[in-house]
Symmetry: C2
Subunit: 364 residues, 2 copies
Amino acid sequence: MAAAGLDALLLTTEPEVRWVTGFLTRFWESPTRPWFVAVPAAGDPVAVIPAIGAHLMRQGWVRDIRTWRSPDLSDDGVSLVAEALREVVPRGGRIGVPSGAESHLRMPLDDWARLKAAAERDFVADGAVMRRLRLVKSEAEIAKIAHACGMAERAFARVGEIARGGMALSRVFRDFQRLCLEEGADWVPYLAGAAKAGGYGDVISPATEAPLSPGDVLMLDTGLVWDGYFCDFDRNFSVGPPGQAVREGHARLIEATAAGFAEARPGRTAAEVFEAMDRVLTGGAGGSDVGRYGHGLGMQLTEWPSLMPDDATVLVPGMVLTLEPGLELAPGKMLVHEENIVVREGGAEWLTGPAGPEMADLQR
Amino acid sequence: MAAAGLDALLLTTEPEVRWVTGFLTRFWESPTRPWFVAVPAAGDPVAVIPAIGAHLMRQGWVRDIRTWRSPDLSDDGVSLVAEALREVVPRGGRIGVPSGAESHLRMPLDDWARLKAAAERDFVADGAVMRRLRLVKSEAEIAKIAHACGMAERAFARVGEIARGGMALSRVFRDFQRLCLEEGADWVPYLAGAAKAGGYGDVISPATEAPLSPGDVLMLDTGLVWDGYFCDFDRNFSVGPPGQAVREGHARLIEATAAGFAEARPGRTAAEVFEAMDRVLTGGAGGSDVGRYGHGLGMQLTEWPSLMPDDATVLVPGMVLTLEPGLELAPGKMLVHEENIVVREGGAEWLTGPAGPEMADLQR
């Protein structure tokens, strides 16, 4: 904060608030109430939160917890957080608010205007302070992500129990989430995928009622959570023996993943990891419309950096990344593969499997 | 929009985008990419979205889909959405952005400043247009919510299969989500609850490893999703015979729920439903720090209105509400009950059970 010329940070989103306070709850699913944490450059943070959260916040380390009865249609915490900011930030001081890529402000715009007036302090961008803090994970964080990866790994190993030709994709999705829970997930915030002959049209669709058919490639991409930390990886399965294009495409993805893994060492950039993978995938043509071949991972399903040409983030030990190469085998026929790694002093380490070049055949 | 003096709406959040376009995906779990829909006062909406979403958006009814390769650290859709807005909004025109209670703007603040400059149009509050549209549900929406309620109802009826004295609460949480999936949920975005002797400390905590013990009240509050629509209700269970305070408290909550149900008719206000419940709960003292006794429900776990003293929203047919009375039996010993209803011409109709006054005993 000193380097960025800030006297405090104002945080409003789930991962920001949790990173500072340890406040872990699924209650953020409710968009109704705003939550605030003011972190002064010196001194302890102040949590300004709805009274409904006070009991849980008190289980953590933050001592200065101020609450109001929320929702309040006339003043939903605005004057209370303004007062806290006036207290911890001197007149003429600057309050940093996360404002860069992948951030947002979780409060109504009307209240944001009121807060800017009531705080009598300057609000400015946070100079990427929160990005820098969250970009490198502690050993405790890495262990939690690895634990989440292990659960999804075991669930993927059991897909043969729940997916066969003739089964509706919607049922496969439900049953795969059940497997994740059986393997220890606290919850399963993310599952996307598809099942189509010779590759799929996208990687973000919910399930349809269409039954799995011979020749389909079934892709399941999951982000399950354990103790507040995500894994994010996928596996592809063939319904019956895969055709040649699919077989070769999958092997190419595994090769690209290995190339990314080899490149993901301290001192290399996110762009260089992209380029190493892209040489395998397109001969260096610059990737696809998906935009990137992987990303950071932690308290959120996707975090900075992005493995793409214009992300110059330098890798350092403790960064957790996904390697996520994709190929278009034919128009509307994609294949995507994904693994999770952590950057260590000596190079990357796998947090997931990793999968081999041969695609698993569900009928075998 | 005409009444609010708006030439277009700019939408950025999941429920707003989905309400207009039908775009249903769990990919919003990734905070990385911004998504935009411009809805002109006359003419068709324009979806300005990351290329990764184009295939899925094309499955819906929106024809004007403009994409860019996202993430883009230098221009993440800003100039593209600015261009679309300049196209559909005349010079001097006004663009409404949801800005009131329970809304937020899902894009980085830095990009918001750039967009305001690049669009060369005025951005103003949306005059609660989106709130008004979403507040009243169509029959199709009500049917989906009712379907989701039925699934949770069946899962609650099976809690005896998964919860007994000695079992860790974390395991009960995992297994309950599994039951929700078995009963047909697409996914389970929300589960909170607690198990404590004589009542619990809050209603938003994740599970602990503590085992269920005789005398505990186990509360499970779930928001499962089916086809993009939520239910949101809870059930309380006693581990062994409940004590007198718990027994009487639960019966009081059921009585308050019935009072809210009777009051929830067209023409009554959200505040009047609150007051009817509060007369039973506190003799009319005005409720508790939780802030309200229920809320709207639909594409999100919680929506407007709030059943609380200062919410003057007039109920009309098609509103879907939760009735969620709470009591503090002793300091730190809460009980909360919740049901879901829809407001019809003739009065409220249950979408859930509803539960009877006697708390289920898991040991019986």
